[in-house]
Subunit: 470 residues, 2 copies
Amino acid sequence: MLNPFDAPFRARLAALLPEGTLREAAPRHLAEPRGRWQGRPGPLAAPRTTEDVATILGACNAARVGVVPWGGGTGLVSGQVMPDGPLPLILSLERMTALRGLWPGENVIAVEAGMTLAAVQDTARQAGRLFPLSLASEGTATIGGNLATNAGGTQVLRYGTARELCLGIEAVFADGRVMRGLKRLRKDNTGYDLRDLILGSEGTLAVITAASLRLYAPPAQRLVALMAVPSPAAAQGLLALCEDRAGGLVSGFELISRMGFDFLAETGHDIRPPFDPLPDWMVLMELGLPPLMDGPATMAGIYDEAARAGLALDGVIAQSEAQADQLWAMREAIPEGNRRIGSISSHDISLPLGAIPDFIAAAGERLRAMADIRINCFGHLGDGNLHFNLFPARGHGRGDYAPLAAALSDAVHEMVAAYDGSISAEHGIGRLKTADLARYGDPARLAMMRAVKAALDPAGILNPGAVLPL
Amino acid sequence: MLNPFDAPFRARLAALLPEGTLREAAPRHLAEPRGRWQGRPGPLAAPRTTEDVATILGACNAARVGVVPWGGGTGLVSGQVMPDGPLPLILSLERMTALRGLWPGENVIAVEAGMTLAAVQDTARQAGRLFPLSLASEGTATIGGNLATNAGGTQVLRYGTARELCLGIEAVFADGRVMRGLKRLRKDNTGYDLRDLILGSEGTLAVITAASLRLYAPPAQRLVALMAVPSPAAAQGLLALCEDRAGGLVSGFELISRMGFDFLAETGHDIRPPFDPLPDWMVLMELGLPPLMDGPATMAGIYDEAARAGLALDGVIAQSEAQADQLWAMREAIPEGNRRIGSISSHDISLPLGAIPDFIAAAGERLRAMADIRINCFGHLGDGNLHFNLFPARGHGRGDYAPLAAALSDAVHEMVAAYDGSISAEHGIGRLKTADLARYGDPARLAMMRAVKAALDPAGILNPGAVLPL
């Protein structure tokens, strides 16, 4: 059993730390973006060094006081907000933002966990390198949080998730021991892969304090196009065509449903998709090509062949960087339209690629038979990752669906399970989906997850209630 | 403490398994390629199904009998041979060779652990797909062993190690519980990454019985060249040039030292490198390009620019698939020359890319000051992975160096540690390097590795003495 963070413990801990490290949590530390979970006012530690993180965890472990690691607060599954149980200490990495090292010739950067993703990207860019992890909240989200949740985003198809971009981590275990693993190595087969075990564990196995990351040579040419497609199956055919024509150089392949643009229009957002009438399905694609390749001819060739094969109905190829950015801005605006309409439930799912067209059709049919809803299905088609979100019919609000929301959500998860998919492709489990994980997860895997948690954090102080229920 | 596999346990286990599952180990199950470790005659189980694997592990766990998983027997660190301690059961996956599924359109294949790597490659090729893991022993090595050791090879630069090619695993834990994780998903953030924890754990945390793997579209054009370079630093400059010119499409970049070809000539191997006189350093490079790229012009442009910049002294670009194969055959023959000369010690190391030229110079100087030796340094330069092997001077045998061998080996490892490198880049720890891991590994990481081992295999039956000492 955990103990609450109380005044005597506060005094003991404060004596071990530099002045100003212990504070009160601000409102931003207690909220999460969808406003469904709320933390309680209480203590926050903002250490400046790994040694201070070690001191904090060691003391909390000895006193059995819970610790909630906090990055940028942008997580969508309430991994960063603990609404009940014994009052925890929030551990914010916001003052650990140093660049530990930059080796452009090696394509490696080492940064502290509190640096924002955008700052990592900028630092790499200034050295002529690309750090490809890219997602909507990158200005606020920290790299430590990205790694702790194994974040995805729009460039996974080519460059992988946060896990695949990480070469090494420095991390502090629950008992305060520090693993110094900021390796700059591409290959290292010396024992168990604790790095990948900690990445994606959402702060429940260790606290990441710094990481070494892979950089890339930026592609010499970026080609971006928005194409109208007759169906999700055609979109997949188009992706196969792109991969054949452009080798491993497809860096983005996003499915867009008409509903996304309808929502933006309905809520007064000024967006002008280039098709009239709007097709039901569109694809935003990006190729990152080397200098000696004829980029425009490659993209035009893909469009011509897709049109001939019936995989594309219409298309716009960006003729400048500004046009490319405009096409991406349309894609990036979709979550804002969703927020303005207000979802009944939101699902970050992944599916075997071959199952996606069937899933979209069958799930839509089943859910619409349950209630008069609208579905906005969009996302990272190349990764099999759909954001499958349910919305009220026009003229209704989400409140009208309150009695049905749980049943609708369950229906989505049941269908995902039936198609061998995942109920959390990139957002993680947090506290929002622990019951779903317990229900749909493989029993042997869950048992071993609990064994690993007990082995690495025997007192259970690290992010209590996240990933695994208390 | 473990118990030996004895007659009463044999009788109990045999009663639980289909006839013919329990056998005697053959000589090939008791040897390892370098002939330095030797197993003892004893029992072997060759199950046909995952359920039989579960039965075997459950029974061995209850009786505290050690189990040594066995794939193709090609491992170089004696992970597959247990020379002492209570007699274990060897668990060979050689009868589990089924194709579980093939989805060419999804770029996914699912196979049982006993299928050879070559058979996985062939099955993919027949479906028009590429499984890029490639290494010298691929005709014998099994995919289960490749995954259990996180094998590397010659295509890691572009496609990653075995870990990065694996989407999911079916595995049996020590207590016989089966994790059914043959996912075909690109993204899945539902809890701890037990897959990557088990991959590379060399059979000490679970037994992999099947895996789902990533396939790729084969590149439309393969361009292969052998270039003479003035130094390892120039070879790295050449790699950077290739990456700029060919985006992420460099699939192989191998450093070759003149010593490798000298050894082949000295031992009567018929090999004709295309340079006379032979340069001290060469690079074998491969590009895998999409159809619309002008491959020959790209490779010729790389060579011209490299020559102008002083990064290449001479070069041969393969003009046919046959010539490309010949160039690769020269690279692949190097280990045979090494075997014929007989190494004093062999090191599979990785280093930060920027440290490699310094390391090669400094380590060579230090070692040659200790003894009159020859060094063959070659390998996967793009991954920072060198095979750094020490050989007798001409006219001497390895026996002449016996009194010095340990000191030479220690000197290599000390220098690797000083340069923040790894003492095992791709071969693993096995039983050969447990003392080195204990000496050079991060203490917190080692402590947590032991905690993980105790959590997942409390009786310690899985591959006793491998990775972590008994």
